[in-house]
Symmetry: D2
Subunit: 445 residues, 4 copies
């Protein structure tokens, strides 16, 4: 990350904020501490190591830093005239309803915005042809939705016509668009923003990154991730029971993780009966002396059961890549490594004349549709509230991030430029190696 | 069930019991109420309806009745010289460890039997060629096992040589063999018993029926069933979230239920967002005006989401039955109705030019490997204790049942003769019809 | 129970049923099996033992039997003109919302009753002075309430003026009153019924017994009980951790059980780390050679931790009974045995100069307010549906029971005449003795 | 915190590290990335804000920074000759067993230390008079302990003679002492260290801060906290059911939080039905126009139910402080604010002639004894592993901290100097204010 430039982290602002934050209106003005408000000079440095500090000192350059999130004293939109809309896109992730609830309550109670709408079924809801009506959102409507998984707004994958969507925003007089979605959704948000700018509209767009894989750069954690590996850990334990329940029992659990294996790694650390964690960051061979199957065989002959956790994006090198397919959201459609592993392991043990029982578990939908655990619930609420603060202050084309335990605002392109991955030389991966006892490399050089 | 004969329900007994039940040894003899003990005259009638009562009265015939389980005042085996063994066979089911724990503690604390062994990996453990050693079991070993799913003894499917197994029992001086397993296992137990009888050995065999499907005749409930539909209900709710998360979202959950749909039915009643419950007891067509797909289409067009729960044995009429396969345990290997439904639904909506999102969840291994919930935990303990009482009293070739809220002893052949099924004219199925709103029949006559 | 008379179990009926059950209306008449319907000749015998059968046979007397619950072919009320009301009284119990949901859906979907109302805050809601408005109930309103503990209608304790309540029923044109409550509530229901009869009104009243203690006679199980001991079992495990966490650690868990110790006994069986179960059915002394404290001391000195589960109604003999108080519902207000035990144990160990750490946990409100587990959820739904069937058929002054795994109708006085208790000579208590290893008696004769 | 000095954050080191980290021994040396190792020059700055950066730049002073935790290339102790001991002190907290497990596995697998012992019942275990034997710890012993709450080593409160404890360490040849405990325990650790230094012994001591209240300075989070507010959130929801179940129902939940209200605040955010959060950081009056009772009355009259969450250390200003008592660990013994509130609320409503039902729940022991949730499980493992790394490298008198999402080493005095508290002008408290709608101040100035 040597080529980071500070300008990549500057968040756009729609205009000069002139209204006074209505937080005052709930309370006597003199009761509000000035410390409560954050202004644009407040930033969090990217690298908090002392050495980076000293390097910067020597070079004289300003360190890369992120805008600190939080309430602004002056706001851009007049709450009494503001209309906000929320859209949720892509696959399910625990916490979406919590974020929706947080947005609605933040707008309603902190800023007295009364005109809040839910766009149904993702970006489709902005395209008249689909006929999905908008849904009025109030604190009463969202009161208990944090107790349910899924999304009360529905979702969809895939792109829609940018111009038609901005037409809809104009037609509906929407001032603030909150998008809850992954890379594709946020890129859509960014392009919508460009179109808004082109048309000179007074509309801001704010994103809350939704990726169960926890792979957003410059964000320590994304919402739903804690719930995901919590749920995954329980399934991993079940799989352990299945593996030990049979002689030479092998259980395989496929978990989410298209490009990054954070869920697989953390589930294995939380429920440390796992013997192999296979992630996209660590290529492996199936066959050969150092390959995975040889290591698995050694384990099975030694202990007569084995537990394998595989991230969906692992082992893509094992497939012939000529026919790369993409799903509606533009993500590369991975071959199913879980099913492939199951088949190959069965074949392998048969060829080795070892009687083994292979069981395969794919809990993806169960995890994605789970209710957010309390830690996620609080986190979602914070993310949503900070998105509201930013949007009301006139910031646009941004996402809410978290860095060094503080909330930040990042320009969407910075957040979507690349993906966060497990550092195979770092402490997370080494903790996995220690827990599993798996070989450092399962690949012939 | 008009052709039931009382002789089918008479449990064999090895010989005259002469020892006094060691329950006395813990307490002063005078403190023990005589009510505590059950003798062979205590029976539970099969049909507790007043009309059956009257019919019997008129006909003069004795009503069908089951032997009541419980401690006998006189026992057959001398605890100080008794050696007991436990074997677990077939697929996982919540509560196996609880049953093992109950057997060990019942033998140890109630009867002072100190020589208790676990046979590893099912009936394989009785065949020397496999080399699975027996595992000494004590209260200390089983202390916390009820907090874990799976089986600490391991399991296996398939038959083994009867003569070789009885050889093993003789060689090891085993007096009591407890088998925890399904139909195949119990039939094995029965044949073992025949061989024991042929050889004139003083060995009894007792079975605890293990079928997550709850399909044992003359038993209100089998262990693990409550846990199974409890876990299934949570998955059903997740699936509801997946279905509502997409426009025209269809979620399919495949649950256990080879011949009987009890898990599917009860999970749907417990989490009543389900729109279709498909069970083996209720044949359906896919196509045609009254077929399932037409009903599904109507539902999806009306509400834009649908939730389908399907038992694994449902819809077998949809498959060409020429190539019937059996698994190792001798059960007919069903074609995968879940995957079939997913494919057919996808094809159907494509052919109808309706954009739908179909999601398929198969939580079978997750359910099977689950820890027993407290209600099951208590039930397993009771089953085990009653198995111990029966075996110590010299009963053999029997299973522990439950009928009219009392524990019973049934001859194995009576328990395995046929399978309990949902009565589609009874209250359970009608409750399902009401909850789902699905058509009474999805089949052209 | 030798003095049972059949006439005590005859359920009153308002009049001759003349309307045809609307179950027909959903389906073609020929499709409905006649087996579905239950008529008044269908009864379940009280005692299903073979010996009772034979005794009856000899004596020529008709056996005691209970009316079988279920849909009647002919109904008494015209659904299109029927108004039903639901009231929930007394303390919380898991499953109340499930019962409400079941009643509403049963009335609405099975019988097409559209006029359903919730009476708020118990019997208070029938007294105009309190000003609690009635709440319209529809399937939409009750859709997700089974996912929450508590009662959406609110509750209250205590009696209200009978005449004023019947005035309210008349004034509101209510035809069916469903009461969900304990002994006091049901007795209220009965007296309301007498007043209705006196006035010659066409109103039926149906009760669903709500007692978390599971102490209703002639009912195998009451709703909420499974959830109660499930939740209690988890707390018992926590208490075990507290007990073992300190040297000579003693943890006390007080559980519900005013007159019967079923929750305490079952929680201890489900989580068998408990060393002492103290229940109302088994009097004990604190002091003396055979008293509880001596037994506790022996245990603590031996293993250095002990876990005590006490039902709230246990040990009432330890209190001076001069000042018996009653709560609003008319129940005797017990002295707090939990706090008393904590104090006495502390005092005792101090007097014995043994350093011990005593921790006291009272999870009552946590258990009472819990969401029903799936097994309870299904059970509540069945109870509710059967209450609807009975009421629509014109039965009155009855409760829905469960006996020999079938649903029954009992006259309210039969259900409230006495309380079900643990038989200390029966298998439940003996399983407790075995699990805990506690002395048979902790009392000097 | 303007008076922080860098020297307060310098961790002592026993001597020059000379041995090569055995991490190498598992793998070929060339396979190990140098990035894996952390040396003493790696530090994390305390304040990651850009403004602090600039201030430092201007002043020329070095910023306050913490030593980064992690494996060192050179270690101080020879694993083959090292003996390590673990002690757990004070009250229970979720995750203690996970930390024990992490320490044992880290020592065993990463460093090949084979001589690991558990000291039983806290510091008492180092005093021969108590007679608590040490317990040999191996990976096999700790295999499944992370699945249980509590501590397998037992715990105790209170101080022990320092000299006698160091005698024990010498006598037993212990090289590394890991202490898991709160302020008192860590202070004990520090004094033990001083005595070790005085005697010139080659013993290091490492602490893992255990405070369920999450109130350790310079640590973003302490272990068990996530689990604590997760469990608390469920109880808060139960309490909501109790509150709404009665007319003018008031439910009070007392949660842990001696000096800091983090658990109360986070539980309320996770389960946002709470109307009042009372914490030590925000003094309140009971009586008076602006007092809590007036605000409660307003709420109850408006909505007819109210939910109050109170931290155990809140409202201490309400008590007469003449008779301050301390517990064995030296903590001030707080008057029970929960019981006090219950009594005062009851009195108040009676005096106001408002019929209200007040229910009080104290789930403290239930929360403390809970199993760690997966997020905590992973965190505990990381803390433990880093404690091992530091100790093996010869660091002493330190605790493992977490700052800016990295693990750090802090000298014990820095960690125990003062307590982290909620900033009532910061975003956490404002989120609470918004969620509850409670007044900013409940106190007359």
């Amino acid at each position: 990350m040597n080529d980071l430039k500070q300008e990549d982290f500057e968040v756009k602002k729609l205009g000069k904020a002139t209204l006074v934050s209505p937080i005052y209106k709930n309370y006597a003005e003199e009761e509000i501490s000035n410390e409560l408000f954050i202004d644009e000079s407040r930033k969090i440095v990217y690298d908090a190591s002392l050495s980076s500090y000293k390097n910067t000192l020597e070079s004289g350059a300003e360190p890369i830093s992120f805008l600190k999130a939080g309430p602004r004293k002056d706001i851009y939109f007049d709450p009494s005239k503001t209309k906000a809309a929320i859209v949720t896109c892509g696959g399910l992730c625990p916490g979406i309803n919590n974020v929706i609830r947080g947005l609605v309550n933040g707008l309603y109670y902190r800023y007295k915005v009364r005109n809040i709408w839910g766009i149904q079924y993702g970006y489709q809801g902005l395209i008249p042809e689909y006929g999905h009506e908008m849904k009025k959102l109030t604190p009463e409507v969202v009161k208990d939705i944090h107790l349910f998984g899924g999304t009360i707004l529905g979702s969809s994958r895939g792109r829609q016509d940018i111009s038609a969507m901005v037409d809809a925003l104009e037609r509906e007089n929407i001032n603030i668009l909150f998008t809850i979605g992954g890379d594709g959704t946020l890129s859509g948000n960014h392009v919508i923003n460009e179109e808004i700018e082109r048309r000179g509209l007074k509309i801001v767009t704010a994103g809350i990154p939704k990726t169960i894989d926890n792979d957003v750069n410059f964000m320590t954690k994304t919402f739903g991730f804690d719930t995901a590996f919590t749920t995954a850990a329980a399934v991993v334990r079940d799989a352990h029971n299945e593996a030990t329940g049979a002689y030479n029992g092998v259980a395989i659990v496929k978990l989410m993780g298209r490009d990054s294996g954070f869920i697989a790694a953390n589930a294995a650390l939380a429920m440390p009966d796992v013997n192999f964690v296979l992630v996209p960051e660590n290529e492996f061979d199936l066959h050969g002396e150092k390959g995975f199957l040889a290591a698995l065989k050694e384990r099975v002959l030694d202990r007569h059961h084995a537990l394998v956790v595989v991230a969906e994006g692992a082992g893509q090198n094992l497939f012939d890549h000529e026919d790369v397919k993409k799903d509606k959201s533009g993500n590369i459609k991975h071959k199913d490594i879980g099913v492939h592993l199951k088949d190959e392991i069965n074949k392998f043990f048969k060829s080795e004349d070892i009687e083994a029982t292979v069981k395969y578990i794919d809990p993806s939908y169960i995890i994605r549709s789970e209710v957010a655990i309390p830690a996620d619930s609080v986190f979602c609420n914070d993310l949503a509230l900070n998105a509201v603060h930013g949007a009301m202050a006139g910031l646009t084309d941004f996402v809410v991030g978290r860095w060094h335990n503080q909330f930040t605002y990042l320009p969407i392109p910075a957040a979507t430029a690349s993906r966060k991955k497990i550092d195979v030389n770092g402490p997370l991966w080494w903790a996995v190696l220690e827990t599993t006892g798996q070989p450092l490399k399962m690949k012939d050089e």
